[in-house]
């Protein structure tokens, strides 16, 4: 098996950070502790775990942060080295009852996957992103598949996933669309968290994958009075307009555009005009940098909301406006269950619907084989400038060509995992998580049915 492995090496992360500071996003890929490794197939950590062969696996902004050594050290206790990057995965299940099914992996590793009984209140309610037992259980610490030493990740030709993480892909949904489900789920979660009321003016800052999917989610799940999107590059602008932005502006036009949109006044500092006194009702920061957060705070109205969708690190931001204008700053991480007019629904289900409805497969703009991972990461790091949105690895396609209309796929070469190699014995209660928990009792069929 081949996988893009990230090891723990502070000097090399530091070097990557320095390289990225010089060469821009993804500049650290050559010096980061990152390599394409060969290894045996991973053991299954416990029952209800399955081997999955990725078909397509996306490169996410958080992956790029890791590569550039820019991730916050906050994550240190909740990742375990060495890990394999990649959490936007559409793949083929190799074994178990779902063998041969095409699935999207929901990467968050909550209580269910960790074999924790009873699950924490958040997981019990389906809000896996808010799990309070993150880092415990029989798995090595890791907030998601892709950051956990025991599960592997999407940038490989094989990983393991818990049955509760698998969502079967409807046959009519192409791989390109399916690989967009995970990021779209983040966007749906963020859009619903922002609770944009009908008629409210929303701003989406950033037009990468998250920005565009957030825009699509807002168009689909809310009725904003105006939806203003900030896009830097021509492709992003076209995409944003196609996905239903009312107005697409360049970053340096943002403040003026919001001022016009909301007919706000502004305070003149010196002789130039700046600092709006009003602003947008909700701002979705889909970048997560100091400057994007500062812009968000600059264009949101007093009492408005800023939803942090892009992953931030240690930011240097003046919070005086947040304090003085009583702005609510909300983090929007991952997904789980959402309160919708039709009742509580899984975020992934909503994401599946949105991907199909908004045709988000068009965001997939470049594919790379695993061997050319450095090139792929560089492309992803400069996606906007190079006319791309989502860059993906194309991995399992050749080995499992026929998924459509087929029954179980040919069994993977190593379905029977040698038990002694498994880390399972280390876990105190590996065997019977099932009866203890009504949600866990029947997790797989439920999630599969709703997706069908």
């Amino acid at each position: 098996m081949r996988e893009v492995l990230v090891e723990r090496s502070l000097p090399r992360f530091a070097a990557a950070r320095a390289a990225a500071a010089l060469a821009g996003a993804a500049g650290g890929v050559a010096v980061a502790p990152l390599r394409l490794a060969e290894r045996e197939q991973r053991p299954l950590p416990g029952p209800d775990w399955h081997h999955v062969t990725p078909l397509l696996s996306g490169i996410c902004g958080s992956d790029l942060s890791t590569v550039d050594g820019a991730s916050s050290r906050y994550f240190e206790p909740i990742v375990s080295f060495p890990f394999v990057l990649g959490h936007e995965i559409v793949g083929m299940v190799d074994d178990g009852p779902l063998a041969g099914s095409r699935v999207v992996v929901e990467p968050v590793l909550g209580c269910l996957a960790r074999g924790i009984v009873p699950p924490c209140p958040a997981c019990a309610a389906g809000r896996k992103g808010a799990c309070e037992r993150i880092g415990f259980g029989h798995l090595a610490p890791g907030l998601q598949t892709g950051y956990c030493a025991d599960t592997g990740g999407g940038w490989s030709d094989g990983l393991v996933a818990h049955a509760s993480q698998l969502h079967r892909v409807p046959d009519e949904l192409a791989d390109d669309a399916a690989v967009m489900v995970e990021p779209t789920a983040c966007a749906v979660h963020a859009a619903l968290l922002g609770a944009v009321q009908p008629g409210e003016r929303a701003v989406v800052l950033g037009s990468g994958t998250l920005g565009l999917t957030t825009l699509a989610a807002l168009r689909h799940h809310a009725h904003p009075g105006a939806l203003l999107v900030v896009a830097k590059h021509p492709v992003q602008r076209e995409m944003a307009a196609a996905l239903g932005a009312d107005q697409v502006v360049r970053p340096d036009e943002l403040e003026r555009a919001v001022r016009r949109l909301t007919t706000s006044l502004a305070l003149a500092r010196g002789r130039s005009t700046s600092r709006l006194t009003g602003g947008a009702d909700v701002v979705f920061d889909c970048v997560g940098s100091s400057s994007s957060l500062a812009s968000s705070l600059a264009v949101v109205r007093p009492g408005g909301r800023v939803v942090l969708v892009g992953m931030p690190g240690t930011l240097h931001v003046d919070l005086a406006p947040l304090w003085q204008r009583e702005i609510a700053l909300l983090g929007a991480y991952a997904y789980g269950a959402e309160q919708t007019p039709d009742g509580v629904r899984s975020t992934f289900d909503l994401a599946f619907e949105l991907v199909a409805a908004a045709g988000l497969e068009r965001l997939v703009s470049a594919r790379y084989p695993l061997e050319r991972y450095q090139e792929a990461v560089r492309h992803a790091g400069n996606a906007g400038r190079r006319g791309a949105v989502k860059v993906v690895f194309e991995i399992g396609r050749a080995t499992s060509p026929a998924w459509r209309g087929r029954g179980p796929a040919p069994a993977s070469p190593a379905p029977a995992n040698p038990a002694p190699a498994s880390p399972v014995p280390a876990n105190p209660a590996p065997t019977s998580p099932v009866p203890a928990n009504p949600v866990a009792a029947n997790p797989t069929p439920e999630s599969l049915e709703t997706n069908a």
């Binding site: 107005q247 003026r256 555009a257 001022r259 016009r260 007919t263 502004a266 003149a268 002789r271 005009t273």
Partner: protein, 529 residues
């Protein structure tokens, strides 16, 4: 030697390259053989004793008006309105004509013992003038006597208590003007008639009016029916203003109009080559041209602007008339025509023009792309009487660097207009219907117009409407040497050289087009038959 009139040159093989203005600089371009170049007349001599002429005019008014001294009495309420910073261009070397006239009026008022005198800058929806600009226009004596006491005002079209509605014309046009002016016993208007468009009833009916009133003539329909707005008898813009002016007179506002005309002596003597014919350039002219051109190439844009904006023109007074508005304006118009009219035979397929660094709306400021369009297609294109210099469906080629640059203090609404409105459409009618009202009522623009030095929120729209007649008439507009992104945003075609532009024009008007070049400024009015 009496000044020579303007004339039309036919380019032959011996013709030296022609001077094109190009923003803060110049280009020398070789026009194809057979092209025609229209040259402005030479400047008329100045009045020998301008102050005496002004006093004579005040005491010998024309039309149905008594001498100024007999109109002034102690206890009277007098308002003196004057043209704002947009005139003359470039700003004239001191003393400004307005200073001379206002001082003469004030001397008369002081002699008559009039206590209640207020000065108002008739800036309509233009930006407020700075203290230095007011001091330049009126002189220190006037400024120091009035400004410290709050008696030197600038018209505020957005002050609900500062304007008064006088009624509607028979065409339903609202007439709403400055309250102080309307309620005075005598309104003295001090005008500078730089081009044929200025003056007459437009002075008060536009200069002291509110948005509610101005929108009746500053709109796409009116501008498309003004052919051209430099020809008052074929200008819907002026017809509307005349209707309003007559209503103002009927409402009992007593106006004593003082109109002045200037000669075409536009640039200081060190730049004399700018108003000479190229084959008459002396050695000194040629040397200055090459030295300044080379120096300007290596000067940063901001410094170039500063240098050019500090040019003070030697314009001199050629006539002054005072009295009743229409009688005065007829005389003034005749004087303007005498100086500026150039006869041109027939229309061309292609009209070329070099656009200078200044237009009425960027004095001491940046000429942004919208103003470039307005100067070329609004002003220069319309400098005709009869029919346009270019045939319908023809091409206009303008030369200007057209930088994507705006002065945020003077032109805040222009930035939004350019970034938001023109990004979506360049069709004047669509723009008018969809955006005008929201810009005109935007509280931020209103605030800046009233308290800062910003043009009104609706002003960029007027700039675009000013182009409406040309946009409707022309087949294509090409900008030579402009910022590509900015030119394209305007809906024009960018070209890197005049030769390329002419090639591009051939796609529209066919091979071997006839070409007319407007050798402008100094400004002139083409009488096209």
């Amino acid at each position: 030697m009496s000044p020579r009139p303007g004339f039309v040159l036919e380019v032959d093989r011996s013709t030296p390259p022609t001077l094109f203005w190009h923003g803060e600089g110049w280009r020398l371009e070789r026009l194809p053989v057979g092209s025609r170049v229209v040259y402005p007349p030479e400047p008329f001599p100045a009045l020998a004793e301008p102050d005496a002429a002004i006093r004579h005019a005040l005491e010998h008014p024309v039309g149905d008006s008594s001498p100024l001294s007999s109109l002034l009495r102690p206890g009277a309420k007098v308002t003196i309105a004057f043209d704002d910073v947009s005139l003359p261009l470039p700003p004239m070397r001191g003393p400004d004509v307005r200073q001379r006239v206002v001082e003469a009026v004030l001397d008369t008022a002081a002699a008559a013992g009039v206590d209640d005198v207020v000065l108002v800058a008739a800036l309509a929806l233009h930006r407020r003038m700075t203290d230095d600009e007011l001091r330049h226009a009126l002189g220190s004596r006037v400024f120091d006597a009035f400004a410290p006491h709050g008696l030197l005002l600038q018209h505020d079209a957005e002050d609900p208590d500062g304007v008064v509605h006088l009624g509607c014309t028979d065409q339903g046009e609202d007439v709403e003007i400055n309250r102080r002016a309307a309620e005075s016993d005598l309104l003295v208007y001090v005008n500078i008639n730089l081009v044929a468009m200025d003056g007459g009833h437009k002075s008060v009916a536009t200069g002291l009016a509110s948005y509610k009133s101005i929108r009746h003539h500053h709109n796409v329909r009116t501008m498309q029916q003004s052919r051209s707005f430099m020809d008052r008898h074929h200008s819907e813009l002026h017809s509307s203003n005349w209707r309003m002016g007559r209503l103002i007179a009927k409402a009992g506002v007593k106006i004593f109009q003082i109109e002045t005309t200037l000669n075409l002596d536009t640039f200081p003597s060190q730049f004399s080559f700018l108003q000479k014919r190229e084959w008459e350039w002396s050695l000194r002219d040629r040397a200055t041209f090459h030295a300044t051109s080379t120096a300007l190439e290596h000067t940063p844009a901001a410094m170039k602007r500063q240098i050019f904006q500090s040019i003070r023109s030697p314009h001199a007074l050629t006539s002054v008339h005072a009295g009743e508005v229409e009688a005065v304006h007829d005389l003034t118009l005749a004087d303007v025509h005498r100086q500026q009219l150039v006869h041109v035979e027939g229309q061309a397929d292609v009209l070329t023009m070099g656009l200078p660094y200044i237009c009425p709306y960027n004095v001491n400021s940046i000429m942004n792309p919208i103003l470039v369009a307005c100067l070329g297609l609004g002003y220069f294109f319309n400098l005709y009487r009869g029919k346009p210099l270019v045939r319908e469906g023809g091409v206009c080629i303008m030369s200007h660097p057209t930088p994507w640059a705006f002065n945020p203090v003077h032109h805040p609404s222009y930035i939004d207009f350019f970034e938001q409105v023109l990004a979506e459409t360049v069709d004047p009618l669509e723009i008018e219907a969809k955006y005008e009202e929201s810009f005109a009522t935007d509280p931020w623009y209103v605030h800046l117009y009233r308290t800062s030095n910003a043009y009104h929120g609706v002003h960029p729209f007027y700039m675009w409407y000013w182009c409406a007649h040309a946009l409707q008439h022309l087949g294509q507009v090409i900008v030579v040497g402009g910022d590509r992104a900015a030119v394209r945003r305007l809906g024009f075609k960018p070209a890197s050289s005049l030769a390329d532009a002419l090639e591009m024009a051939e796609d529209v008007v066919g091979r071997d087009p006839s070409i007319t070049h407007l050798h402008n400024p100094p400004l002139f009015l083409a009488d096209v038959t």
